[in-house]
Symmetry: C2
Subunit: 403 residues, 2 copies
């Protein structure tokens, strides 16, 4: 894999091309998440048509169902799910650490129980690489331990040291097909972030990732941590910021020199009837849309806006019709993919800053109070599930179920 | 509307073309059912690609949600749902009579309660036409009373007489946009069937429908009743057999001179993971498919078989992924649409009988015992729902929910 930098500096918005054996992909880019081998509600042909060039698969989910060896036997993940472009796979670290008391960590790896049937399983750095190689991944991720956002310095340092050690083991275990990206952590401690990025940079990998962000910390902290990480990462390698997906966050990441993003947000929001517009999010269940002719957003070039009115989408959600989940997801994915295309074009013509300001002048992000309320509800729900029978309900845990 | 008969006689397999203001459609044909303005799980563009030329909308469902007047205000049903070809709308008769004790019939019409919120509603022949005209239907159906399959002679005769009277009122109420098809009934009594068909034939409509079949009677009775109806219907007008959708039943209908069919079966089965093959139905949840490479059926030209393996489909159903419901529905719809294309080609070359025999020599329909068990379960479930709080659960009543 090779990364070709076309415009922009080390810690500012930049445009490039990621050359993989399965094709070249322009950056900055957003990767739709195909959790269990399907970007929820959206077919591969639709992903191609909406401009997605690389998608993500989840090691944790795929090793549970249908199993990495079965996928390997059937010709690999690309063939199994019908996606011909490059694919990135995560390492399962984020999911198994989300399992709460269902998992126990030691320096060798993590023992955990399946959220589906409670069966005992174990992931080690070596096994995480083996699974991703069996899947036939183009970009593999090192197995890491993301410390919770509220970790104190000692806990964050311990998780980060383990992440470093595991990254070395992953790189040793990696046989050479695809590129393996190590992940820097450091919790919400700027010096740990800087040290972690420096350590990861020294590993000399094809690309590097920044993990452990967007886990409940304020946005101000997110950007402070991102900056602390990025300043120590090599400028000539792609930087992948994991799990970030709100439109305003993508642009804030790009502005600081990030190249790659993934998130379940556009599909999860879509299934819940929330769609992105340049003015902010819009809830399709809103009764005021029942008679609204015209698309979600005029000028949007997605397949949903080309054909269907807000009134129809409102009706589909009101009736819980499957088509509604799909159309809203397609719109949201196209919104993010296009946002990255537009950001790239702006960078190449030297106008990213103006583009970013223009976006921010219209877009109303949900306020911090709403975010914080939502995080509290999620944390409380997660705690309840973790205390419950020892098996997490498959339908009830957004982070785990969606990736 | 005009019907052009190209080959075949009055009571035998025949091929033709239905000329409507929204395009010409070859017959025999199968119409996918877009219950509440969406063929469940399948987008209009996919319907076009799988060869559907005309689809069906449900008056009962659309008058409840979002309301016929709202759809009219937004430019009609075609525009609302993004379907440019011809559409047939049913009259709501079948659904309101399926509501059990939630409805009461008088000679003027039917008073009933919504299965969604229990609100009181009324359908009359005039209102059923008004709703269908507001939707902008190309083929409207007369409001009818389908007698249950186990109706005695007197009850069947009463429902049939009312159906005749209502058909006359519908034709008087019809303003002339689109074509209105009257429906013959007669229960499971051959002489009533013959008399009803003769009455309906005398109305001189552009086409005629045969209703009240496939309601739990044995297949032998179904074909006996179909023959009794068809022999009195004019040969130069299309005959639409309502609610029939199993592959073997479509061909048995075509063999007797039927031209048009509709059914929720392909999409309902698809959502449940059952798919048509030339050997019979296949359950995608079957564990034996977990490692099966290759499509549902070799040689199938549907979008699902072109891209995806049985192993992947099995996995999607195992994980309850939305994409699985869509792919299985597309396969089943294409199977039926193609079956009608093949039947038509066979009729035009004078070889329908051989084609039919060849199909039957491979296809294993579910045996009568299984069918009868299923019918019993449905009837018991319906009785329970009808006894319950006065509101039918939207998710639990297959006939009403699916159309």
């Amino acid at each position: 894999m090779e990364f070709e930098l076309l415009a922009g500096g080390a810690c500012q918005a930049r445009a490039g091309v990621l050359h993989t054996t399965r094709g070249s992909v322009p950056t900055p880019l957003f990767m739709p998440v195909g959790t269990v081998g399907s970007v929820k509600g959206v077919a591969p042909a639709e992903l191609r048509r909406l401009g997605a060039r690389i998608i993500l698969g989840n090691t944790y989910h795929l090793m549970l169902r249908p199993g990495a060896e079965l996928i390997h036997e059937l010709g690999g993940l690309h063939r199994f799910i019908g996606w011909r472009g490059p694919m990135l796979t995560d390492s399962g670290g984020f999911q198994v650490f989300s399992l709460g008391h269902l998992r126990s960590v030691d320096d060798g790896g993590v023992s955990f129980r399946s959220h589906i049937d409670g069966s005992p399983l174990r992931l080690t750095p070596e096994r995480a690489v083996e699974v991703q190689e069996a899947l036939g991944s183009d970009i593999l991720m090192a197995f890491d331990e993301p410390p919770p956002a509220d970790s104190d310095r000692a806990a964050a340092a311990e998780a980060t040291a383990r992440t470093h050690h595991w990254a070395q083991r992953c790189l040793r275990a990696h046989s050479g097909t695809g590129s393996l990206f190590p992940i820097c952590q450091g919790g919400m401690h700027p010096d740990l972030r800087r040290d972690s990025a420096a350590f990861v940079a020294d590993l000399g990998a094809d690309g590097n990732a920044i993990g452990g962000l967007g886990l409940g910390e304020s946005k101000q902290i997110t950007w402070q941590m991102l900056e602390a990480s990025i300043e120590r990462l090599p400028g000539n390698r792609p930087r992948y910021v994991m799990g970030i997906g709100a439109p305003e966050d993508l642009l804030n990441g790009v502005a600081r020199g990030a190249d790659m993003f993934d998130c379940v947000l556009p599909t999860r929001l879509g299934r819940n009837g929330a769609v992105f517009t340049h003015d902010g999010k819009l809830n399709l269940r809103n009764a005021s849309l029942a008679r609204r002719d015209g698309p979600i957003e005029r000028g949007c070039d997605c397949e949903c806006c080309a054909e269907f009115s807000l009134a129809y989408l409102h009706h589909l959600f009101h009736c819980e019709e499957l088509l509604g989940y799909r159309l809203a997801s397609i719109h949201n994915l196209r919104f993010l993919v296009r946002l990255m295309e537009q950001a790239r074009a702006a960078i190449l013509r030297g106008g990213f800053s103006a583009f970013h300001d223009e976006f921010n002048s219209r877009y109303r992000p949900p306020d911090e109070g709403v975010r914080s309320e939502q995080r509290k509800r999620w944390r409380a729900a997660r705690a309840r599930w973790s205390r419950a029978a020892g098996i997490l309900p498959a339908s009830a845990h957004p982070e785990i179920v969606d990736g």
